[in-house]
């Protein structure tokens, strides 16, 4: 079953190194919320800084910039990741989705509506990250109990401690959508 192919005579000694881009500005083509974007950036620019400083998509927040708070959570190719630890240039050829792309025009995403219904935020700074994480959580299918929601949302900190209300919002969307095959409590 193991699919290990032994390489033949082609070795790193006989292959040309790749051409490097940067460190100065380089043209990068991205797709953010299904809109093609062409930007000129240095390779060191994080996805978070690109979104906020260059594309004016300031919904994604910079909390710690170290990958510990989750405020910068976005989706890349449908998976929730931290944009502060992602270089923008590595997203070429991938689809980036941010909080700005969550609503369908003027119609809020069910998770956004549930956050309002359940008062799932106070200061609101962590909320975009919480929402992006919560939407992904239901797709991942790890929201069957409160304990499971807590564990699988642990990458998103809330200094206001709105956690009970965030869990309530997630429960509501889960039960409405029938995610996980679990009935309402």
């Amino acid at each position: 079953m193991s699919q290990v192919k032994q390489r033949e005579v082609v070795t790193s000694a006989t292959v040309e190194p790749l051409t490097m881009r940067g460190p100065a500005d380089t043209l990068v083509s991205l797709s953010v919320n299904r809109i093609a974007r062409l930007v000129t950036i240095e390779p060191r620019v994080s996805l978070l800084d690109l979104l906020r400083e260059r594309l004016q998509l300031t919904g994604t927040k910079k909390g710690c910039d170290h990958g510990t708070c989750g405020a910068c959570t976005v989706h890349v190719d449908g998976r929730r990741v931290l944009s502060c630890l992602t270089l923008a240039i590595t997203c070429e050829g991938r689809e980036v989705s941010t909080i700005e792309g969550l609503a369908d025009g003027a119609t809020l995403h069910p998770m956004q509506r549930a956050f309002i219904t359940h008062d799932a935020f106070q200061c609101g700074f962590c909320t975009p990250g919480q929402l992006m994480s919560a939407v992904a959580l239901l797709e991942e299918g790890h929201a069957s109990t409160d304990a499971e929601i807590g564990e699988w949302m642990s990458g998103n900190l809330c200094r206001c401690a709105a956690y009970p209300n965030i869990r309530a919002a997630i429960r509501e969307v889960r039960d409405a959508a029938g995610e996980d095959g679990h009935a309402a409590d």
Binding site: P23, L82, W152
Partner: protein
């Protein structure tokens, strides 16, 4: 962050050639440690070769009951792979108890092995630290060392190895497959992690240009009933103060097979060889477990704030062994 140049590779040989061509370059996989440390100025490559598109993400059960995990498989995918869950639950549990869901989607298997220590003196970029700046001294010896190691330490470094995954892999005698300038080679995982000794800046035997391509886990029927126990300051998203990967099988009350490795307390993922020797062939009861735990920690060197870890580690071992026994290891 200092300026960097960038290229994305699609073939391992091309990636290796590109990194080899520039001594200041490094591979970029999930980036969860590397981008953070670049921003902090702790690591200083000037060129990154993005390997995320290399075809190294497969997770395959082998016909003999083992496992081969591509180096670029993500933590989240490995943790939920059915073969991993069936054959090596301790690997799945160790992965799911590490980091956060977002980080697990990003972080690769190879990168997990190569993640750097979370010692605050290493990470701050300025304190004396032999790992970051050889011969500059170790600030943790007399500093804030509550999270630091009590086994495998030296006068030059007491930083704890942070990986949970690696603890399970060490318990399972995994093998690291590497491709480099001189072709392919394999490294037993216990030899992959180096003790700090007087060269704490050397953490593994890889040379510049070496690329981890896969991790192989040999068959271990005992591991089908295995677990990973992690003790930490908060319930989730935190490093271990002490952890144990355990697989245990007893017949008629006697231990006939056992694997035990420890995390959170040592400078490398710690295979508990001394405890295993006492456990094998002994009665599977609390007295044996206590004796084995005591034996494994006999050479522990606590340094101030981390003194509590000696007892914590022993209790973690005992509980993990008891849990493993209850899991169905007894017949």
């Amino acid at each position: 962050m200092r300026p960097i140049s960038y290229a994305r590779a699609t073939d391992p040989v091309e990636a290796i050639a590109t990194v080899l061509a520039d001594p200041e370059s490094a591979y970029l996989a999930g980036g969860t440690t590397e981008i953070d440390l670049l921003r902090l100025g702790v690591v200083r490559p000037t060129a990154l070769v993005d390997i995320n598109d290399l075809p190294l993400a497969r997770i395959d059960g082998t016909d003999d009951g083992g496992l081969r995990i591509g180096a670029l498989a993500r933590m989240s995918d490995v943790a939920e792979d059915s073969v991993v869950v069936q054959r090596f639950p301790m690997i799945a549990e160790a992965l799911l108890l590490g980091a956060s869901p977002q980080l697990r989607h990003m972080a690769s298997m190879g990168g997990n092995l190569l993640q750097r220590v979370r010692c605050s003196y290493f990470r701050d970029g300025v304190s004396p630290c032999n790992k970051r700046e050889p011969a500059s001294g170790c600030s943790a010896l007399l500093g804030i060392n509550r999270g630091h190691a009590i086994l495998g330490t030296s006068e030059h470094c007491i930083a704890t190895h942070p990986s949970d995954l690696a603890v399970a892999l060490v318990a399972l005698d995994a093998v690291v497959h590497v491709e480099g300038p001189n072709g392919s080679r394999t490294i037993p995982i216990d030899e992959f992690f180096l003790l700090p000794g007087d060269t704490p800046h050397r953490e593994h035997p890889l040379e510049h240009g070496d690329l981890i391509v896969a991790i192989e886990v040999p068959p271990a029927p005992v591991a089908r009933m295995s677990l990973y126990l992690k003790v930490r300051d908060r319930e989730s998203y935190e490093f271990a103060l002490a952890s144990a990967a355990v697989a245990l099988r007893a017949e008629r009350g006697v231990i006939v097979d056992v694997r035990l490795a420890l995390g959170g307390i040592a400078t490398k993922p710690w295979r508990a060889h001394r405890a295993e020797r006492l456990l094998l062939g002994a009665r599977a009861d609390r007295a044996t477990f206590l004796g084995a735990a005591h034996e494994e920690l006999a050479d522990a060197v606590p340094r101030g704030l981390n003194a509590f870890k000696v007892e914590l580690a022993q209790r973690t071992i005992v509980r993990a062994l008891e849990n493993a026994l209850a899991l169905g290891g007894a017949t």
